[in-house]
């Protein structure tokens, strides 16, 4: 495949497991997706569905008692175009370390606790640069760090560079986090709920900043979120996860305007809308998310599904059926040969 036709990264049948006292937990259960160069994929789902574990798996950062137990993650963004199979690199290998931060960057949910409190934010950017760029002097790294702080539109970067994390506001810290993650020019940025801990105004500023930087730098973004509005604003493609499975995926407008999986439908109905009739009641999804160690048989969502069909949904895991162009859903209701229930 030529560079033009390969994606930036592809994930095939990824399985990530954790050994816990209650048994083996499959946090990610055979998921597939690709992210094109410069594209944005949103990974959407409720708490505990495996979003963070997916993100960390891409960086091969799952540590014992967890491990990637199956599947393949291939990164095609290397200089020279040689594909790198991330899943075949040992997590502690030097080759894997070099990919982290320089090819694939990551930003986290909690901008306070995600910095080492004992070093200035400048030092934390400088050490990132120096870990990846051979022969870079400290002074040059510092100049680049200041440049990055300016790039994320922080005021007086040459002063901020010597500040400690606790001296900055949440929004500023998240900007520094972005500057740090982008300092080595990664081609993929994994953004793990980067605005969840921020207030609404700051959130929209950070989202704007991310979009601008993405256009400017041409990087791809994997946007992990449980917020449908954020997903629809940021992403081209969306993957909806439930209990470690991809239950629906497709272009973001298709999936959000025309949800095919009952879980996605339920998610959309549970979001308050400003333009909606105020008398219309919000529906919450009934029941609790089963814990991953009590994985339901068959379709993982059948215990909460309002279209649950005994004998069908609780026997076999449905495959992903086409629900439109580039749009798939893991539900027998979407199957072409499925005899629709009599109305």
């Amino acid at each position: 495949m030529s560079v033009e036709t390969t994606p930036l990264i592809s994930v095939e049948g990824l399985v990530t497991e954790f050994r816990t006292e209650g048994g083996l937990v499959r946090a990610v259960n055979g998921i597939d997706f690709t992210i094109p160069r410069g594209g944005t994929l949103a990974v959407l789902g409720e708490s505990g569905c495996g979003k963070s574990v997916t993100g960390l798996s891409l960086l091969n950062l799952i540590r014992p008692p967890g491990a990637i137990a199956g599947g393949r993650i291939t990164y095609y963004g290397m200089e020279g175009g040689k594909p790198v199979e991330i899943t075949s690199l040992p997590p502690t290998s030097e080759a894997m370390r070099k990919l982290r931060g320089s090819e694939i960057g990551m930003i986290f949910q909690e901008p306070m606790t995600s910095f080492d409190p004992l070093y200035t934010v400048g030092e934390q950017i400088i050490e990132t640069l120096m870990a990846h760029k051979r022969g870079l002097s400290r002074a040059a790294a510092r100049a680049q760090a200041i440049e990055m702080l300016a790039k994320v539109r922080l005021p007086s970067p040459e002063i901020l560079v010597d500040r400690y994390p606790h001296q900055l506001s949440g929004g500023m810290r998240q900007r520094v986090m972005i500057a740090m993650a982008l300092s080595c020019g990664p081609k993929l940025l994994i953004a793990e709920e980067p605005t969840t801990a921020l207030d609404v105004t700051t959130e929209s500023q950070i989202l704007d900043l991310l979009q601008n930087l993405q256009q400017e730098l041409g990087m791809a973004v994997m946007f992990i979120t449980h917020d449908l509005a954020v997903a629809s604003e940021m992403a081209d493609e969306v993957v909806v996860m439930y209990l470690g499975y991809v239950v629906e995926r497709g272009p973001v407008e298709d999936v959000l305007n025309n949800p095919s999986h009952p879980y996605t439908q339920a998610l959309l109905e549970s979001v308050p809308r400003l333009d909606a009739d105020s008398k219309e009641r919000l529906r919450t999804i009934e029941g609790m998310v089963p814990t991953p160690d009590q994985m339901p048989r068959g379709c993982p969502f059948h215990t909460r599904c309002r279209h649950f069909m005994p004998g069908i949904c609780d026997t076999a895991l449905p495959p992903l059926y086409a629900a439109g162009p580039d749009h798939e859903a893991r539900c027998v209701l979407v199957a072409p040969d499925f005899a629709k229930e009599p109305a």
């Binding site: 986290f108 004992l118 050490e127 870990a131 400690y164 606790h166």
Partner: protein, 327 residues
């Protein structure tokens, strides 16, 4: 920073005054004093004349004056460097303390160096190899070390050394060297005795330091910033030593505040058991015998080292942690 240290030093003066006063009066609390103990002991040995001299003795030692008056005499003499005379062996308190200072510092600083120097790296190793064989072995060792008091360990070593070589390693030198000058032979002889007390004291100290280090390291390793550091591709060595270890130092630095006091006040029972010529063994006996000037002087030394130690650890914390520095 200098202003802060100066302020702390100024606050230390009234604290010290208070400790001196309280310490002095606590020494007076028991109904018996040194003289009545002395007379009773003499009486038991059949010497009844001592009974008749009781009041005279008290006058000689100044114990007939009211406590307040005695306190002020003692206090001002103390400031002038006259720390009084021991009732028990009639020598100046300063002489007794100075005589015992070298052995005390030698044993305790060796024990300190070994327990911290070995305990910290082992604790870090344990935490970074959690549940692996090495960690399990070290954790078990630490468990034993913390569970056993150091004097028990010392007694165990004493018996083991006796069974192995027939030597009784009490004290810090063979009898022929006790009053000899410090030649190479005496130094070698010193180490052939000192290893026992140093290892016994260092073993429990090391166990504690190792456990504290391991726990802090594990707590820090679970924090989100560690994930950030790894996600940005720092080498694991840098993640551990530059970041996690420095964050884990906090409680160790707080403990470091007690190290100075430990130097002259730790392992008192071990000192007594092994008959070490240290300050702590004389402090124990002076307290029991109500040798108040000697006990009081040592008490003040301990108080001063506690205060200075805490000041040092606070300064180190401020150096370590910008959140303390900029509060």
């Amino acid at each position: 920073m200098l202003a802060y240290i100066g302020k702390r030093l100024v606050i230390m003066l009234p604290t010290l005054l208070l400790i001196m006063a309280v310490g002095f009066f606590i020494m007076q609390l028991p109904a018996q004093d040194y003289v009545s103990q002395y007379v009773a002991r003499q009486g038991q040995m059949g010497n009844t004349t001592a009974m008749l001299q009781e009041e005279l003795l008290r006058q000689q030692l100044g114990l007939d004056k009211p406590p307040i008056e005695r306190f002020f005499y003692w206090f001002f003499d103390f400031l002038r460097g006259d720390w009084g005379t021991s009732f028990v062996d009639s020598r100046p308190v300063t002489t007794i303390i100075l005589e015992r200072l070298p052995a005390t510092l030698a044993i305790s600083s060796l024990a300190f160096l070994v327990s911290w120097g070995v305990g910290i790296p082992l604790g870090v190793y344990s935490a970074t190899h959690q549940y692996k064989t090495g960690d399990v072995a070290l954790t078990t060792l630490a468990f034993i070390g913390i569970g056993l008091p150091d004097f028990l360990v010392a007694m165990f070593f004493l018996v083991a050394a006796f069974l192995a070589s027939g030597q009784v390693l009490l004290g810090l030198n063979s009898p022929e060297f006790v009053n000899a000058p410090w030649t190479l032979a005496r130094i070698l002889d010193f180490f052939s005795y000192a290893w026992l007390s140093v290892t016994a004291v260092a073993f429990t100290g090391m166990a504690l330091i190792m456990r504290v280090t391991r726990n802090n390291m594990l707590e820090e390793l679970g924090k989100p910033y560690v994930l950030t550091l790894r996600a940005k591709g720092l080498p694991e060595r840098v993640v551990i030593w530059k970041h996690v270890f420095r964050n884990a130092l906090h409680p160790l630095v707080t403990m470091f505040g007690q190290v100075l006091a430990f130097l002259i006040n730790g392992f008192a029972i071990t000192s007594a058991v092994l008959n070490l010529p240290t300050i702590q063994s004389v402090y124990l006996s002076a307290t029991f015998q109500q040798d108040i000037f000697l006990a009081g002087a040592i008490l003040i030394l301990i108080a001063v080292t506690v205060m200075v130690g805490n000041l040092i650890s606070d300064v180190m914390l401020a150096w370590l942690d910008p959140r303390v520095r900029y509060d």
